[in-house]
């Protein structure tokens, strides 16, 4: 927990007023963001993209398990699924990350910071994706399942051929939305020392004393990553509809 705040920049405070606009100009033009800064930001963006992609994919797998638990016939299993979803959706991700960071070494698991960050993001998005999937399964029209039964499909085939494909198609937009949220939320791993996009921007801001440019550039890169994600989701959605 000591690591929280380790990455704080000194707050610049009010600029000296007597020097007025000239001082502003001098500070602002002291060290422009150069090609090196942009290369560093791109590296950070790659780390952010990799962390988010892996955690959303792993989170989908765990989310599917949690969703299965929530739809289980056994009461205790259902309750366990509900508690998981409630906890990981109810506690701020920053607090979850702090908890995992301090808990893992506490129980003798020493993993690199990146792995701990990945575990935190994955467990959190799994809860949201479980809830999304549950909604998708509940939204599959019962008539289609009954039609499957009438033509003699086994329960396994009904699951594989009717319920899962339909639920996936129904939930795709929400999953893309969740991926955007995780992409943004992954900025919190900067607090525990991962050199992601946000942390890189912080480093550049403190070394060049140009926070506006550094953070605006980081924000623009987040928007680009989002656009890629949403565009990819749209393509996938069209392909899924075309496959029918």
């Amino acid at each position: 927990m000591a690591r929280l705040g380790a990455c704080l920049l000194p707050h610049p405070g009010p600029l000296p007023e007597e020097e007025g606009a000239a001082a502003h100009f001098r500070v602002l033009s002291a060290t422009p963001l150069n090609a090196t800064s942009f290369a560093l930001l791109l590296d950070g963006a790659l780390i952010t993209a990799a962390l988010s992609t892996v955690s959303v994919l792993l989170g989908f797998a765990i989310g599917a398990l949690v969703c299965t638990a929530q739809l289980s016939r056994i009461r205790a299993v259902r309750a366990a699924g509900a508690v998981y979803v409630s906890f990981f959706r109810g506690v701020p991700l920053l607090v979850q990350l702090l908890l995992i960071y301090n808990l893992l070494p506490g129980i003798g698991v020493n993993v690199p910071g990146t792995v701990a960050a990945l575990v935190g993001l994955t467990l959190c998005t799994a809860a949201y994706q479980a809830e999304i999937l549950r909604g998708g399964f509940l939204a599959v029209p019962p008539g289609l399942v009954e039609a499957g039964q009438m033509v003699g499909l086994s329960p396994a085939l009904i699951l594989l051929r009717i319920r899962v494909p339909l639920a996936l198609r129904l939930t795709l937009p929400s999953v893309v939305n969740e991926a955007v949220l995780i992409l943004k939320a992954s900025s919190l791993v900067s607090v525990v020392g991962i050199a992601d996009l946000t942390r890189t921007a912080q480093n550049i801001a403190s070394s060049t004393y140009r926070p506006i440019e550094a953070f605006a550039a980081a924000g623009a890169l987040y928007l680009v990553l989002n656009a890629v994600l949403i565009g990819g989701g749209g393509l996938l959605g069209r392909r899924m509809r075309g496959a029918e």
Binding site: M1, V95, S186, I212, F215, G219, L223
Partner: protein, 218 residues
């Protein structure tokens, strides 16, 4: 964390809790107010304003809250906007939440049945009266579930304010963890506190939804 330690730090925890509430509730109100203004601006401000606002709001919703906070807190002084951590936090929550509320409320306005608005016009209500008597109350009912969800989202975002040193719950409790070396216990206490808060908010929202379920809109 043993009980004596907990008792010693109780005043500090209570103060942190107070700051969290002082960030959350005013932040939520400001966000809703800003969202309403922006939604009205998009609806009644003409095409150009709609396009500009859509672009700006998309940028706010597409970037991390933490980056926005850094931009405000560390970048602000360079454009003559020197904010202390609490001010930056409150403004940040208002802007971030406002961008989401704008979208929620715009959807709410569009979902108000046209017939109600036409009936108001036919009954001779002025546009301002129609807005105040018909559109606003019906929109408020329609967006209640989404609004409660935003309340929970913003409650959780207040934890992020600890990074720009707002002395709220997360900062206070992690501080206690650092000074007593009871990191894990502190993080647990923190997690459970937020869990209770967000669950209570959700439960209050569901109770409100049940109460207004008797109001028929369509």
């Amino acid at each position: 964390m043993n009980s004596a330690l907990l008792l010693d730090s109780l005043p500090a925890v209570a103060a942190g809790f107070g700051v969290t509430m002082l960030m959350w509730l005013p932040g939520l109100s400001l966000a809703a107010l800003l969202g309403l203004t922006l939604a009205l601006g998009r609806q009644y401000g003409g095409r150009a304003m709609d396009a500009v606002l859509a672009l700006l709001l998309g940028a706010v919703r597409g970037t991390p809250f933490l980056v926005q906070l850094f931009l405000l807190y560390y970048g602000g002084p360079f454009i003559g906007l020197t904010l202390d951590p609490a001010e930056a936090g409150l403004l940040g929550l208002a802007i971030y939440g406002g961008a989401y509320f704008a979208e929620i409320m715009r959807g709410g306005f569009l979902a108000v049945p046209r017939g109600h608005v036409e009936a108001a016009v036919m009954a001779g209500l002025s546009p301002a009266q129609t807005l105040r008597r018909i559109l606003l109350p019906e929109m408020a009912l329609l967006i209640l579930p989404a609004g409660v969800n935003m309340a929970v989202v913003l409650m959780k975002e207040t934890a992020v304010l600890s990074i720009i040193t707002v002395p709220e719950l997360t900062m206070v409790i992690t501080g206690i963890g650092s000074s007593t070396f009871a990191f894990t216990e502190a993080a647990f206490l923190l997690a459970v506190t937020y869990w209770v808060l967000t669950e209570a908010t959700g439960a209050a929202g569901r109770a409100m939804e049940r109460r207004i379920a008797t109001v028929r809109l369509a």
